[in-house]
C-alpha cells in the first residue's frame, strides 16, 4: 500500500517553511482496523490531519542542522520526551541538544493512538526511529554523490558526514540546502545495530527537570494569553455519574442576581446541566461559582456501593469467553487442592495533584485548545463533534500537565474551555477545583474476580476465572451535560487485560463479564490487569499454602518462559528469599512480620493483547494486630523490559510505580453516598505519605539483545498480591479485598478468631 504525496495543508506548510527541511515519504501498512471502539480506547480514532505515511511526520532535519522530531504520544511525566530524544539522536547521529521533540500537537504530530499502557517506546517510537534512519541514509548518499565516493566509505558523526579516515566532508545542513525536499523511502530501512549505540541504553538526565525545578516550564495550568478570562464550572449534584436520565435534565433554575456583586464577572453560561461562570479575575470566578444559586432536581439514588461484590454482580453483563481448554469441571473434581474465591478491587482515583485545566481561544472561526490530554488527537475529534466544527478548524496543543496515570479530567477541562471560548469569543481558561476533580474524574473502576482453580497434575493447573470491569472511555463531560451526546453508558471490552495467567494449565475457562460503568470510570494505571493479577497471584499463593509448598518454588513449577523464570529467581535472590510454608500458627496480637512474592507480565491492548515487561515483587510487611495497621517496609521489584532506552528513567519509573501501588493497595478506596462520589478532598481519600514509605530495591534484567518492551506501568501489576501474600505470611489472614486498611485487617482478625472458637 502506498500513499501518494499530496498538497500539504496550510499548517504543515507553515511549519516547514521556516527553513529548508528534509521530508521523506514513507509507507507502511495500516496496523489496526477501524470500528473497535468497544474493545477499548480506539488506537486509530481521532483526528488525522498529519499524514502518518510521511517521514516528515516524525522527523524533520532543518538547514541549520537542528532536528525537529514529532510524536503523537505525549509525556505524562514519565520521561518519554527524554527517551524519544535519545532515540532520534542515536539513529541520526546528532547530539541530543540538537533535537527538539514536539509531542501531541494535532497540527504537527501524527496520530499514533492514545498514550496508554506505557507503550510509547515499544510501539510509537518505531516509525520515528525508521524516519531518522532514512534521513541519515539519504545524507550519506548525498555526500557520496557530491564527492564521488562510495557510500560505504563514509560515516556519520555528531551531525557531520565524514570519510572513514575522519576527514570532514559536510555538515547535515550543508547537504540538504535551503529547499524543502521529499525523498521516498522503502519501509525496510536499515536501522543502526544495538551494538553501535552510544546514546540509547545509557543513562541520561531527564531533559525536562531543570525547567521544572526553576518554575520555567509552562504547564497547561500556567498558560496565559492576552484577554484571557477565568471560568469555573458549577456542577450538578449527581457527583461523578455520567449515565442515566438525570444527565442534562436536572437543572431547574439559575438565579443570576445571586452573583451580581462579583466585580469582574463577565458571563454566566447555562446550557442544560452545563453551568459556568466566567470572570476576568480567577478569584472572582471561584467566588461566583460558590455564590451562584442554582436549583437542581434531586438525582435518583445511586445503588448501594457498600458491597462492591454485590454492586458489580447485579450490574447487567455479557459473558465473553477468552480462553477455554480441557475439561475444567472434571479437572476441578479430580484436583488435589482447590481454591474458590472472589477477589475485589475498589474504585480508585487517578489523583492528579493538579486538578485538570484547559485553555481555549476562538478567533476568526478557528479554535485552539491547549490541553493536558493523554490523547490529543482523540480529544480533537471529540471536540469537533461536540461543537459541530470541522477538524481542520481546530488545533489541540498538548501542554505538560500534572501526572494523570490514565484518563483523568484533562480532556473534560479542555472541552469545557472550548465550549466557553466559543460562547464568549475570547480565550477562556478552565481550572477544576479539587472537589470537582475528585468527584468527576473517571475513576479507576472497581473490579471483581471470581476464581475456582486447583492443581490438576504434577505441573499443571486447572483455572476458572471470571472478571467484571464496569468502565468505558468516559465521553466528554461537557458533551453529556449539554445533552449533545446521550448519557447512555457504553460497554468497553477491557476487562480482559492480563486475564490469562501465565502458568501451565491443562484446563482453562477464562471469561470477561463485560458491563457498562456504574459510575463514571475509565482506564487507570495497570488497567484491568492490576486487579486481575491481584486475583491470579493471590490464588497461586493460596494454592501453594494448601499444598504446603514454598510460594517461589510453587510458581516456578508451573512457569514455562525462561525470561520470567530468570526474573523471579533474580528478585528472590536479591531479597534473600528463604523457602517458607504457610504459617503454622496464627498470631493474635503485637506486631508481626511477613514477606510475599508475586510475578506477572503486563498484557494490554485489544485481546489477546500485547505483552509489555515482566515484573516480580518481593514485599516485606509489618502488621500491627492490635491496630490493624499494615506497613510495607521493603520491596524488591524486578523488571525485564528488554532494551532500556534510558536505564535511569526505567529505574525511576519502577520506583514510582512501586510507591503508587503500595498506596493504592493499603489506603485507597473511593467512597460514595446516594448522590455519587463522596470522597471530595485528600482527607477523604488519603494517599501514601513520606512517613509511610517502604525501602525499594530495583532489579533490572540485562537486555540480552531483546527489543524494548513497555516499562514502568508493568511494575505496578504484581504489587497488590505481593502485599496480600506478605500479610498472609505474617498473620495467616487472607485478605481478598483491597485496600488493606486497619479496619479490614481487624475485621479479618475478628472473623478468624470467631471461627477458631
Amino acid at each position: 500500500m502506498s500513499t501518494p504525496m499530496h498538497a500539504p495543508r496550510l499548517s504543515r506548510r507553515q511549519f516547514l517553511a521556516a527553513t529548508g527541511s528534509l521530508a521523506v515519504t514513507f509507507t507502511f501498512p495500516a496496523l489496526v482496523k477501524r470500528g473497535m471502539a468497544a474493545a477499548g480506547p480506539a488506537t486509530d480514532a481521532g483526528s488525522q490531519l498529519v499524514d502518518k505515511n510521511l517521514v516528515s511526520a516524525y522527523v524533520q532535519l532543518m538547514a541549520d542542522g537542528t532536528v525537529r522530531a514529532c510524536n503523537g504520544h505525549v509525556d505524562l511525566g514519565t520521561g518519554i520526551r527524554t527517551a524519544f530524544t535519545q532515540i532520534v539522536a542515536e539513529e541520526l547521529d546528532v547530539d541530543m541538544s540538537q533535537v527538539t521533540m514536539v509531542l501531541g500537537d494535532t497540527d504537527v504530530t501524527p496520530n499514533q493512538g492514545p498514550t496508554i499502557a506505557s507503550n510509547s517506546v515499544q510501539a510509537s517510537a518505531v516509525p520515528m526511529r525508521k524516519a531518522a534512519a532514512q534521513i541519515r541514509r539519504h545524507l550519506l548518499e548525498e555526500a557520496a554523490r557530491r564527492h564521488g565516493v562510495p557510500v560505504a566509505s563514509l560515516v556519520t558523526q555528531n551531525g557531520q558526514v565524514l570519510r572513514a579516515s575522519g576527514e570532514r566532508l559536510a555538515s547535515y545542513g550543508e547537504l540538504i540546502g535551503n529547499d524543502a525536499q521529499s525523498v521516498p523511502l522503502a519501509a525496510d530501512v536499515q536501522l543502526k545495530p544495538v551494538s553501535a549505540y552510544t546514546v540509547v541504553g545509557h543513562p541520561v538526565p531527564r531533559i525536562d527537570i531543570p525547567a521544572k525545578v526553576t518554575g520555567k516550564l509552562t504547564y497547561v495550568h500556567d498558560m496565559r494569553v492576552p484577554g484571557m478570562l477565568h471560568a469555573r464550572i458549577v456542577r450538578p449534584p449527581y457527583l461523578g455519574r455520567d449515565s442515566g436520565g438525570m444527565v442534562a435534565s436536572s437543572l431547574e433554575s439559575v438565579d443570576e442576581s445571586s452573583v451580581a456583586k462579583v466585580r469582574s464577572l463577565v458571563k454566566i453560561v447555562v446550557i442544560k446541566d452545563f453551568v459556568a461562570v466566567v470572570a476576568r479575575r480567577e478569584e472572582d470566578a471561584i467566588l461566583a461559582s460558590r455564590l451562584l444559586k442554582v436549583k437542581w432536581k434531586a438525582p435518583p439514588a445511586l445503588g448501594s456501593m457498600a458491597s462492591l461484590t454485590d454492586a458489580l454482580a447485579s450490574q447487567p453483563s455479557k459473558q465473553r469467553p477468552l480462553s477455554r481448554k480441557g475439561d475444567p469441571d472434571k479437572a476441578l473434581a479430580a484436583a488435589s487442592h482447590t481454591v474458590k474465591a472472589t477477589y475485589v478491587w475498589p474504585y480508585q482515583m487517578h489523583g492528579s495533584i493538579g486538578p485538570s485545566c484547559g485553555l481555549a481561544d476562538w478567533k476568526d472561526q478557528k479554535l485552539t485548545v491547549w490541553s493536558g490530554s493523554q490523547n490529543p488527537h482523540n480529544l480533537h475529534s471529540d471536540i469537533a463533534r461536540m461543537l459541530d466544527i470541522p477538524e481542520d478548524r481546530i488545533r489541540v496543543v498538548r501542554m505538560e500537565a500534572s501526572g494523570c496515570y490514565g484518563r483523568n479530567c484533562a480532556d473534560d477541562a479542555s472541552a469545557d474551555a472550548a465550549v466557553l471560548a466559543r460562547e464568549l469569543g475570547q480565550p477562556v481558561r478552565v481550572q477544576y477545583m479539587r472537589e470537582e476533580e475528585h468527584a468527576w474524574e473517571p475513576k479507576g473502576t472497581a473490579q471483581t474476580m471470581d476464581v475456582h482453580g486447583g492443581i490438576a497434575g504434577a505441573d499443571s493447573l486447572v483455572y476458572r476465572f471470571g472478571t467484571r470491569y464496569p468502565s468505558n472511555g468516559s465521553p466528554l463531560l461537557a458533551s453529556l451535560l449539554m445533552g449533545k451526546e446521550k448519557a447512555e453508558a457504553t460497554v468497553f471490552e477491557m476487562g480482559d487485560r492480563t486475564a490469562i495467567p501465565q502458568y501451565r494449565a491443562s484446563d482453562l475457562d477464562i471469561v470477561a463479564l463485560d458491563m457498562a460503568p456504574i459510575v463514571r470510570a475509565s482506564w487507570m494505571r495497570g488497567v484491568a490487569a492490576l486487579p486481575n493479577v491481584f486475583a491470579h497471584e493471590s490464588f497461586m499463593d493460596e494454592l501453594a499454602a494448601k499444598e504446603g509448598a514454598d510460594p517461589v518454588e510453587f510458581r516456578l513449577r508451573f512457569m514455562e518462559d525462561p525470561r520470567p523464570i530468570a526474573l523471579l529467581k533474580a528478585v528472590a535472590g536479591k531479597a534473600g528469599w528463604q523457602p517458607r510454608k504457610a504459617p503454622a500458627e496464627r498470631p493474635t496480637k503485637g506486631i508481626v512480620k511477613g514477606r510475599g512474592v508475586s510475578q506477572h507480565q503486563y498484557v494490554h491492548g485489544t485481546f489477546p493483547g500485547v505483552g509489555a515487561s515482566w515484573c516480580a515483587w518481593v514485599a516485606d510487611v509489618e502488621v500491627d494486630l492490635d491496630t490493624g495497621k499494615v506497613r510495607v517496609t521493603h520491596v524488591v521489584a524486578g523488571q525485564d523490559c528488554g532494551l532500556m532506552i534510558n536505564p535511569d528513567g526505567v529505574r525511576h519509573q519502577v520506583q514510582g510505580n512501586v510507591i503508587q501501588t503500595v498506596s493504592r493497595t493499603l489506603k485507597e478506596s473511593v467512597s460514595f453516598d446516594q448522590n455519587g462520589v463522596s470522597s471530595l478532598e485528600w482527607g477523604a481519600y488519603p494517599i501514601l505519605k513520606f512517613t509511610d514509605l517502604p525501602e525499594v530495591d530495583v532489579v533490572l534484567m540485562p537486555p540480552d539483545g531483546n527489543p524494548p518492551l513497555g516499562s514502568g506501568e508493568s511494575a505496578s501489576v504484581p504489587g497488590p498480591a505481593a502485599i496480600a501474600n506478605a500479610i498472609f505470611d505474617a498473620t495467616g489472614l487472607r485478605l481478598r479485598e483491597a485496600p488493606f486498611t486497619p479496619e479490614r485487617v481487624r475485621a479479618a482478625l475478628a472473623a478468624a478468631n470467631k471461627e477458631a472458637k
Binding site: K212, G403, H652, G656
Partner: protein
C-alpha cells in the same frame, strides 16, 4: 479593590486586588510567577508552597492582604542569578521529578527545612515533607535530593566561611 504592596523575591510589587484574595492567585496571575501551583485550595497538598519570613507557607490559604510588607520568596526567587539554589541543583542531580507538579512544594519545604536544620536525618526529611503530596511516587528521589542538597550546602558553607575569614 485595594492596592496591595507585596515584597516578592526581593522587590516590592503593587497589585490591585481584594485583600482577602489568596496569595496564590496574585503570585500566579498578577505577577506571572508560575512556580507555586494550585493543587487543592485547602492547604492539604503543598503544591502552592512559598516562603514567608523564611517559613514554608501554603499560599492558597493565605489572604494576600495579611502578608503585605513581609518577605515572600517563590521558586523563581531561590536562584541567585544563574546560580541555582543547592536544593534546585540537588533535585536536578537526583532526577527528582516526574510530572513535576508537586516539585515546587517539595523544593520550598526542603529549603525551609534546611534553613532551620542544615543536617536533617532521613526521618526529619520525611517529617518535614509528610504533608506534601506526590502522586507519581517520586518520594525516594526527593529524599535523596534533600539529603544531597544538605551535602552541597555543607560543602559550600565552609568555603564561604574561609573566604570571609581571608578578607
Amino acid at each position: 479593590m485595594a492596592s496591595l504592596k507585596l515584597q516578592v523575591n526581593g522587590g516590592e510589587r503593587s497589585v490591585e486586588a481584594d485583600k482577602d484574595t489568596p496569595l496564590l492567585y496574585i503570585l500566579r496571575n498578577d505577577l506571572a510567577l508560575n512556580g507555586p501551583k494550585f493543587g487543592c485550595g485547602l492547604g492539604e497538598c503543598g503544591a502552592c508552597t512559598v516562603l514567608i519570613d523564611g517559613k514554608a507557607a501554603r499560599s492558597c490559604l493565605i489572604p494576600a492582604g495579611s502578608v503585605e510588607g513581609r518577605p515572600i520568596v517563590t521558586l523563581e526567587g531561590l536562584a541567585k542569578g544563574d546560580a541555582l539554589d543547592p536544593v534546585q541543583q540537588a533535585f536536578i542531580d537526583e532526577n527528582a521529578a516526574q510530572c513535576g507538579y508537586c516539585i515546587n512544594g517539595m523544593i520550598m519545604a526542603a529549603r525551609a527545612l534546611l534553613d532551620r536544620n542544615p543536617r536533617p536525618t532521613d526521618d526529619e526529611i520525611k517529617q518535614a515533607l509528610a504533608y506534601n503530596l506526590c502522586r507519581c511516587g517520586t518520594h525516594l528521589e526527593i529524599i535523596s535530593a534533600v539529603r544531597r542538597a544538605a551535602e552541597l550546602q555543607g560543602k559550600a558553607a565552609p568555603r564561604t566561611a574561609m573566604a570571609e575569614g581571608a578578607r
